[in-house]
Symmetry: C2
Subunit: 413 residues, 2 copies
Amino acid sequence: MSEVLTKAKRVKSAEKTLRLATTDEKNRAILEIGRQIEKEQPMILKANQEDVRKARQNGISEAMIDRLRLSEVRMSDMVKACSKVATLADPVGSVMKSWVKGALNITQIRVPIGAIGMIYESRPNVTLDATILALKSGNPVLLRGGSDALASNMAIARAIKTGLSKTGIPDFAVEIIEDTNRENVSQLVKMNAYLSLIIPRGGAGLIRYVIENSSIPVLETGVGNCHIFVDYNADREKSIEIIDNAKTQRPGTCNSVETVLVHEKIASQLLPPLNERLGAKGVEIRGCINTSKIIDCKVAQESDWETEYLDFILAIKVVKDVQQAIDHIEQYSTRHSEAILTNDLTNARLFQASVDSAAVYVNASTRFTDGEQFGFGGEIGISTQKLHARGPVGLEELTTYKYTLIGDYTIRG
Amino acid sequence: MSEVLTKAKRVKSAEKTLRLATTDEKNRAILEIGRQIEKEQPMILKANQEDVRKARQNGISEAMIDRLRLSEVRMSDMVKACSKVATLADPVGSVMKSWVKGALNITQIRVPIGAIGMIYESRPNVTLDATILALKSGNPVLLRGGSDALASNMAIARAIKTGLSKTGIPDFAVEIIEDTNRENVSQLVKMNAYLSLIIPRGGAGLIRYVIENSSIPVLETGVGNCHIFVDYNADREKSIEIIDNAKTQRPGTCNSVETVLVHEKIASQLLPPLNERLGAKGVEIRGCINTSKIIDCKVAQESDWETEYLDFILAIKVVKDVQQAIDHIEQYSTRHSEAILTNDLTNARLFQASVDSAAVYVNASTRFTDGEQFGFGGEIGISTQKLHARGPVGLEELTTYKYTLIGDYTIRG
């Protein structure tokens, strides 16, 4: 039996125990994992140094190495994450709706999804984060990390399993795939008999591969080609503040802005100071023809409207009105997060009703699309699909529901 | 451009109008469709007679022909369905949650999913039912019916489009694929750029094909290998009543019972009268060894525990206790509907907590798993998957949500 099949069966077999586990039992397990991570920190850091050394040998970029590297601070954050997830409300068992129909009492109640397959790339802290969020929501998890982080991931997974073995939650509720051959991703996404959900986290290539090949339902996360539209009567200074925040605070995140649309009536007042502010921070601007008549910038190509730069680059387009902004977003957006900056209530309402994205803002930065910022206490990613969950995927989004019905020996007439 | 691509683009382009359509506009469109169906009844019935004639020539079974055939009664039901769906509450725009976080007001609001691909088999009334449920929930729909019902489906679709053309909803919100070549199903399930959801309705083969090949999220409907467990202290007479109802009321439906599990303490009192009652209705019993020692019946094979008979056949197994019943269900159930008949509250609670199916009953027939019986007013199928929707898929389940956020030029700190 292949490693993937063996471990998929193991996590599946943990579903029953987790389904019935109490909140206390799950919290104890998560806290025990935290303690074990703390205890095994020297081993985990040593394994991580080995991964970093190999990555350097393989000529991996410094940006990637930064994502791969664990430090004492990052490890302390991992331990804190355990304490925090233990304090979050348990979504399992909460009643979503309850009603009476004829002689039947019908209750819709939150339950775990079941075994989840998690496919991710270089950040080894995902091994822990995914595990504790999955366990808290009652789901076993089969982890498949990237080859660059293999030693780190295995060391973290060992600590997780040792932690679990001291609790009532079986240690096979969390399994990690050791062989990071590419073949096993294609095997994993066909394990319908054992896994109820696949969550890919990583680059666009990985996500596309999983969507195209998985026969298991997928939670699509990630790509954010986010827009901000500055309406004719927006506050100029505050708009510049928001665009700066949305572009430069952390440009590598999916909720950063990539294209700013500017109402033609405000363009000549807004663009020069915006250009100055962003230029000072090293942001390259790629503007439409009309933008380039107002400020000195590169001229945007068609491909710029489609690109998630994840970098200090911003596309700018002058538009006629809110409707043209909405149409541009309809055409190019990845349906993650978009904002309108305006003091016109009619336009604000039209924009929020028309734009079909997970998060649609009025007078705020797109950077808020995040489980922590929404108050979910944590997230496993940002969903850009329509089914099941949209936007930040926290504990509630890692559950499903079932109906429980009680009758009095009731038959259908 | 292929027919599938052309029509997928057309329905996608109707998303914007439907997203902003008011409840009144959608209701008027649905009622207009009903009027047009009524008006074109002679043409639709004529087209249907042609389908039935061809099906006979092709040696299609009488059961299938019965599913294919439209009558004046069935057509009048279709018109009534339009009036009914028009009266149902519109899920779009309802607020699921709303809270304040820092300077942001965050609202989770129900919105349409977007264009849906519907792939179905011989019943032509699905053409209408799927259309009106999709439109009411704000979703355009691309229909791909079976070749047997082609003339009927085209006639119904023509009436739908004529009806729509008299309203504010564009007639390209509903498109039907005319070429029923098998190739176009494989093309349809890859139209990620235009369709947000695929719903297959039909036999197990069609559903499996769609799950294995679609890169678009799928709502899996259908297969129900449902169980009833009769506990040691269940009321004997009432239990027989429920089993009879769940098996014989309409054995071809997915919520009918296929296996009855009987506590060993009640087996010798329950099985003889149950056998007599079901025997009189022509039900064939396939029992485990212990069952066959109490009543005269065929001996069940391993495959019987896995089979959705959809027929006058019932598998029966004697079990030691509620836990053994739960374990049997865990192994063989398709996670549709299961029931426990008991007067033991501890066992009732354990069964409802442990059994991981869409609907878990205490003292009621599994036949209630149905949108109408749940009070949803209609359904497009019964979901047996865990993601997005579970159990009856009504109007609410045909929506998703987005977050709208309002700030005061708020930036992330």
